[in-house]
């Protein structure tokens, strides 16, 4: 059908469903592009729909309405239950997408920096310790230099006692500087024992001037000990004491020497 249907009843017959095949297709094709015939067909559909009123009356049971209302309520519940979590805005998604790789890089960088920082901290601590050791060494060197070069430093020879024949030692002491240097050769001390140097003042009890323990017999030992300045020394002595030393001498003397 290329033009309008020649008779208006064509639309009624179409609405009734009497047409089939090419006849049906021709009307559908024409009406789809012809508002005037579409209107005519709508009217024909309305007329033919009235044939429904010729059917014997039949009221639906109440259960159909109840099921219908329950169906739409159930739909509402499902929609509420399955309501998706709000999606982030497009900007937020873009922002998130843009930052995702950056966040990964940042995480890697953070780990790297943390490891690096730990390494640097360790290096810094090592450096601090080394510096401290250097500083102490430097202080010792300065103290030693000052002791050796000072004109008022006295030298004291320590002589072995009968309990330690062959041993020897020497002390440099400066009362003004409060520094004492011991050097000597002694056999290794007995187990759980150590050697302890004492300053025997002119008056009062001996004052500890440090402990030392050569690992092998005949090994030279040297200790530099700071003491409170101004202590007049009468003599120096080395005793054998329990490991860690004692506040006052308790063990046998192995070396002793007077300052004058």
């Amino acid at each position: 059908m290329n033009g309008h249907p020649t008779r208006q009843e064509e639309f009624d017959l179409y609405a009734l469903g009497a047409f089939e095949g090419e006849e049906k297709q021709a009307i559908e094709t024409h009406v789809a592009g012809c508002p005037e015939c579409a209107r005519a067909l709508a009217e024909a559909r309305g007329r033919m729909a009235l044939l429904a009123l010729a059917a014997p009356e039949h009221s639906p049971p109440p259960r159909v309405k109840e099921r219908l209302l329950e169906q739409i309520r159930e739909e509402g519940r499902l929609k509420t239950a399955s309501k998706p979590t709000p999606k982030p805005s497009l900007l937020a998604q873009w922002w998130g997408a843009a930052w995702a790789p950056a966040a990964a890089v940042l995480a890697i960088a953070t780990i790297y920096l943390w490891v690096s920082n730990n390494r640097l901290n360790r290096e810094l601590e090592d450096l601090r310790i080394a510096t401290e050791q250097q500083r102490v060494q430097q202080e010792k060197s300065k103290a030693l230099f000052a002791l050796v070069t000072a004109g008022d430093t006295v030298a004291v020879t320590l002589n072995p006692t009968p309990d330690m024949p062959g041993a020897q030692g020497r002390v440099l002491y400066n009362e003004r500087l409060g520094t004492v240097l011991y050097s000597g050769t002694l056999p290794a001390p007995p187990a759980e024992k150590t050697y302890q140097l004492w300053l025997v003042p002119v008056s009062g009890n001996p004052i500890s001037a440090g402990i030392f323990a050569p690992e092998a017999s005949g090994e030279s030992s040297m200790i530099l000990t700071p003491l409170p300045p101004g202590i007049a020394a009468k003599a120096f002595a080395v005793t054998v004491e329990p490991a860690g030393g004692k506040p006052q001498p308790t063990g046998p003397k192995v070396l002793i020497g007077a300052t004058s």
């Binding site: 008779r7 208006q8 009843e9 009624d12 017959l13 009734l16 469903g17 009497a18 047409f19 089939e20 559908e28 094709t29 009406v31 789809a32 579409a38 209107r39 067909l41 709508a42 009217e43 559909r45 309305g46 007329r47 033919m48 729909a49 009235l50 044939l51 429904a52 009123l53 010729a54 059917a55 014997p56 009356e57 039949h58 009221s59 639906p60 049971p61 259960r63 159909v64 309405k65 099921r67 219908l68 209302l69 169906q71 739409i72 309520r73 509402g76």
Partner: protein, 187 residues
């Protein structure tokens, strides 16, 4: 249909409320037109359970697509009756109800102009009498052809096969019948 439902509002006012998810508005429209829909579907299928299923389905479709209804494009009872009949005929003829109609037929389905107001029970009763009278006034072979077409969903050739009459005769009978009905129902 209840007397109260008739006072609630026009079809299109109610459809707007249904589109706004007003359950009571749907219930009112159901009360107004469910008997008409149920009658035609039951007549076509002669199966109460299947008819109830289609009745519920048609009003559920109204609930879901109320927002797409355009008052300028037709009448609600016309649309309900056309959709209900199509579904019942499809069921009767064992056509897959899930089969999507062509775009053209879907468009046509939704454009149903009704020459008569059917919003009140009184109007419906009056029109029922008029339609039954018009159909009953047709010659028996014409009335049979119309009923086979409308309630059985038969085409010209199917009617000819059922009645044993020549195809041309069936076409002439049916054309004469719709001409008569058109004149009768438009007055």
């Amino acid at each position: 249909m209840t007397a109260g439902a008739e006072q609630i509002g026009s079809d299109w006012e109610l459809i707007e409320r249904v589109a706004a998810r007003d359950e009571k508005a749907l219930a009112t429209l159901y009360d107004r037109y469910s008997a008409l829909v149920c009658a035609v579907v039951t007549r076509i299928l002669r199966d109460a359970a299947a008819a109830e299923e289609i009745l519920q389905d048609v009003f559920y479709q109204l609930w879901r697509s109320a927002a797409q209804f355009d008052p300028s494009r037709g009448s609600l009872p016309g649309w309900l009756l056309v959709v209900a009949r199509n579904r019942a005929i499809s069921r009767l003829r064992r056509i897959n109800p899930e089969e999507k109609p062509s775009d053209a037929s879907e468009f046509l389905e939704q454009t149903v102009a009704a020459p008569h107001a059917l919003e009140t029970e009184v109007a419906q009763k009056q029109l029922m009498g008029k339609v039954k009278g018009a159909l009953g006034a047709l010659p028996p072979e014409q009335r049979q052809a119309v009923e086979l077409a409308y309630f059985e969903g038969m085409t010209h050739s199917e009617i000819a096969k059922r009645t044993g009459d020549p195809l041309g005769t069936v076409k002439t009978r049916l054309r004469s019948a719709v001409e008569t009905l058109k004149r009768t129902l438009q007055t």
